[in-house]
Structure formats: C-alpha cells, structure tokens
C-alpha cells in the first residue's frame, strides 16, 4: 500500500491508500487557486524536464498534462508518435532510451498495451513514470480527477471547501458506474479511487461488457440499470469503446442505449442531486443522450477543467522534492 505518491511512480490506483489520494486532492486545491490567477504559473518544477509520450490518440489528457507541466514551469518534451521513429519500427525500449538520453525527470505515458507504464518504469528507474492510460489496465489521473470533481461539487453544495471536507463526504457515497466496464481503464481507476475513499460502488453493464473476474472487484453488479437509478448519488458513464471492438459485444448500439444508455427518460428518474459524469469523449446518443449531457447536474466539462490542477498536483508530488526523508 502506498501512503503517499511523493517521489513515487504513479502506475495504478490499486495500491494507493485513502491518505495518499486525499493528499493529491488537497494539493490540487492549491493549484485550482493558481489556475485562477492572472499569471497561471509557479516555479515549482523549474529546470525539470517532463516527456509526454502518447502512443495512442488523446485530446484532453495530453493537453491537460502538458498544460499542467508548463504551469509548474517544467520543460515539456512532446513526442508525436505519428511522425516519430516509432513508425519506422523502433521498440518502446529504444524510444524510451533515446528520450532518457536527452535528460528527463519524468515520463507521462499513454500506451495501447496494459502494463506499458510498469515496463517503462523498469527501463528507467531514475525517472518518475506517470501512467496516462495503458490499454485496459489503469488511468490513475482520471480516477483522481473524478474523485476531486465529486468532492468539489458536494462541498460547494454544503457551503464548505474541499480542503475542509477532507474525505468524509465519500463515506458511503453511492456511486454507480455504467457501461463498458470490460474495456475501460477509467472504470478500473475510478473503482480503485472510490473504494479506497470509502464509497459504495455498484456497476451496471450487459454481461458481455463485464470483465471475467468481476467477482474479485470491490463492487456489486447491478443487473438492471433502471432499478439503480434512484439509489445513486453519482452516475458515472463510460464510453462504449468501439475502437476496441465493443460494438460486437452488444447486439446493436440501439439495443445498448435502450438497456444501459442514460436516456432523457432515465435521467428524469434520477434524484435531482445525483451527479452525472462522463470521462469523455462522449458518444452522444449511445451511452448518454445529448440533452442529458447538457443538464446542470452533468459535470462533464468540470471534469475536463479539473484535469489540469489534478495533473499539476500529481507532477508536483511525484517529481518535485528529494526522495530522502519521504515517509
């Protein structure tokens, strides 16, 4: 169990403690304030080099990691895989060795293979590795920013600050994660974060889109999405990952929408306080109705906005500071 991510790699949320998660959320609060300033930049990582390696396409994760690094005054080496030697068949190991030879302090890695981030952390043990999504495995910063967004919304409603709420409001919070659990690294990181924080997590999905080992996960499976609507404090939808062939796991997209999509009719049956989340990019009309995505209780844009302070917090805690004396 990791009790603080300070000077550690961030590869998965599975072994990260409640205290460590709260430390990231609290640190991110400081960076929300930095992002409100006219000059949105602090010198915490001045002279440090962060390499951003995205072997898979991404808009929000890549942009928010690079924005985060720049706002901490780090230099960013950004590898555009499409125009790099990877296209000539260079191996991951050789690509990392090349970038490491340029002198880097951290790698932010997105890769289509599960376990790629762990592999890279073994190639370059002196460099901090931050997993920005590896195959079907984990997407830790998404799990952290989702928890951060929930805490932010609930503390605002309670008229207090996220810092003051700590982790209490997660106790017994009822989170329902819906859709393509099987192919979703977001679901895996979300579940790890929410359960470490003390939430009650349920998942709803067609049997074909549940992972084979679901009984070992700290969740309860709900057969019928409709019956869980009124139960949920948070409904977290997932993208149906058609590029991973999820389309062939359901009879038809229309059938999936009818049974597990958040349609307008279902959204009306949620309690008005229920928070609707989606990690993006959305398939409007498939897992979420376009009108539902624009409801005030849908916090999808806020999730994107919180990506920057959370990633600033993760970069700051993992990269700044000497590892000596860290408990």
């Amino acid at each position: 169990m990791i009790d603080s991510i300070r000077s550690q790699n961030l590869l998965t949320l599975n072994d990260v403690s409640r205290e460590a998660i709260v430390e990231v959320l609290d640190t991110a609060e400081s960076f929300v304030e930095v992002n409100r300033r006219t000059i949105k930049k602090v010198p915490a990582l001045k002279g440090r080099v962060v390499a951003s390696l995205f072997f898979e396409e991404s808009t929000r994760t890549r942009l928010s990691f690079e924005t985060a690094a720049k706002r901490l005054s780090a230099d960013v080496l950004s590898l555009a895989v499409a125009s790099s030697s990877v296209k000539k068949g260079e191996s991951l190991r050789d690509t990392i060795a090349t970038i490491d030879a340029l002198g880097i302090d951290a790698v932010v890695l997105r890769h289509q293979s599960s376990g790629a981030a762990l592999q890279v952390s073994r190639y370059v043990p002196h460099v901090r590795v931050i997993n920005a999504g590896d195959g079907l495995h984990q997407h830790p910063t998404q799990g952290l920013l989702d928890a951060f967004t929930v805490r932010q919304v609930l503390s605002e409603r309670a008229g207090t600050s996220g810092l003051e709420s700590g982790a209490q409001l997660f106790d017994g919070l009822r989170v329902l994660i819906v859709g393509d659990i099987r192919h979703s690294r977001v679901a895996r990181s979300d579940i790890a974060a929410y359960s470490a924080l003390g939430c009650d997590v349920h998942v709803a999905a067609p049997g074909t889109l549940l992972p084979a080992d679901i009984e070992n996960w700290p969740v309860r499976v709900v057969e019928d999405f409709d019956q869980a609507l009124e139960w949920a404090d948070v409904v977290a939808l997932l993208r149906l990952q058609r590029e991973r062939g999820s389309g062939s796991f359901v009879p038809s997209l229309a059938e999936f929408t009818r049974t597990f999509g958040l349609t307008l009719e279902r959204a009306r049956r949620l309690r008005p306080t229920t928070i609707i989340m989606h990690p993006g990019p959305m398939n409007r009309g498939v897992e979420i109705d376009s009108r539902v995505a624009d409801l005030p209780s849908a916090v999808i844009e806020r999730q994107v906005a919180n990506g920057v302070p959370i990633r600033m917090a993760v970069l700051y805690l993992t990269v700044a500071g000497s590892s000596e004396g860290v408990p």
Binding site: I39, A44, L163, S322
Partner: protein, 189 residues
C-alpha cells in the same frame, strides 16, 4: 507551556522541545501593537495597504496586525494569506512540503504590501514570497514585519518591523505564537 513540553511547529513538521519562554502572550501583544503603530506612521494613514500573512506561521500574526491597523485607522485593511511552497529554492533538496491555501484575490499593483511572518531566519522564505508576490502585479512597495528576528541571514533581506530581536545559535529553534515566544530545539519526537 512549561519547560520541556513539546509542541508541533509548523503543523506536521518536526517536534519542538521548549527550553525556556522568552516572551509572554502579553508581551507579544504589546510588540504587535507597537508594530501596527509603526506601520501606520511609516505609511501615512495606510492608503492602498494589503497585509499578507505567510502560511502557516505568519497567519495568526498577520490577522492580529490587520485587526490592530483597523482599530487604529478605522478603515478595513485587506488581509490575505500566501503559501510559498511552490516558490521555494530548496524544493529539489527536501521532501515536498504540504501546501496550504493562498487567498490573494486582488491585483497588488500600486499597493503597499506588508508581508507578515512569525520568525525571520535565513531569509529564503521571504525571497520565495517576493517572487510569488510579483505574480500579482507590481506593488508600490513591499515591507516586512516579523515577530522574531533570530539572525543567520543567507540572503540580503532585512525586516522593516520587528517584534523582538533574538540572537540564536543554529542548533536552536524558535516557536512564536500569539500566546508567547519560546526557545528550544527541534527533533524527532
């Protein structure tokens, strides 16, 4: 607090073991009153004045000084807090400090800024604070008020208002609160 009893300073930092008390709460209050009067005198009735307390030790003193300035002049004095963690020059050398709130919500251009901290030591915290403040504009002037100046400066920085000058040795530690000032040592509890 009696001799030998321990208190945490700063929160989450090393334990502080008190050797002896140097100022009582009353003496601290009297020093703060004098400093407030000096601030008013030097700044001709305080137009455009911002008091900024450094997290975490300077917060209580900044709050009290802002109250005293308000009592003397009758006008509200703007009070903000500043955490300088992200601006420290020892970030690469020490474990990452826990960050706390920064609450400066206005442009400091053309303001007179009074930076308040508990203890002035090497001057590195103040260097970090000066860097941070420049991100909120260009103050007309920045002045420094500290409860205790314990010497051992490593940078060309001097305070404008001092509660008490206390020559110390490097292995001693100072704890300054509104309830009093103590000298002692820091170490693992």
């Amino acid at each position: 607090m009696s001799s030998g009893e321990l208190r945490q300073t700063p929160p989450g930092g090393l334990a502080f073991f008190a050797k002896s008390q140097l100022l009582t709460g009353e003496e601290v209050e009297r020093a703060l009153k004098r400093m407030a009067h000096e601030i008013v005198e030097r700044n001709h009735g305080l137009p455009r004045l911002s008091v900024i307390g450094l997290q975490t030790g300077g917060v209580a003193f900044a709050t009290r000084i802002a109250e005293l300035l308000h009592d003397i002049v009758g006008d509200d004095v703007s009070l903000s807090l500043l955490d300088v963690s992200f601006y420290r020059d020892d970030l690469n050398r020490n474990p990452v400090p826990k960050s706390t709130a920064t609450t400066i919500d206005h442009d400091l251009t053309d303001q007179t800024v009074i930076v308040v901290d508990d203890v002035l030591f090497t001057g590195r915290t103040i260097r970090a604070a000066l860097n941070a403040l420049s991100d909120w504009g260009r103050p007309r002037s920045v002045q420094l008020a500290v409860m205790v100046d314990r010497g051992h400066r490593e940078l060309p920085i001097r305070p404008d208002y001092v509660g008490k000058n206390l020559p110390t040795s490097l292995d001693e530690a100072i704890l300054a609160t509104l309830e009093g000032v103590w000298i002692g040592t820091k170490g693992e509890s």
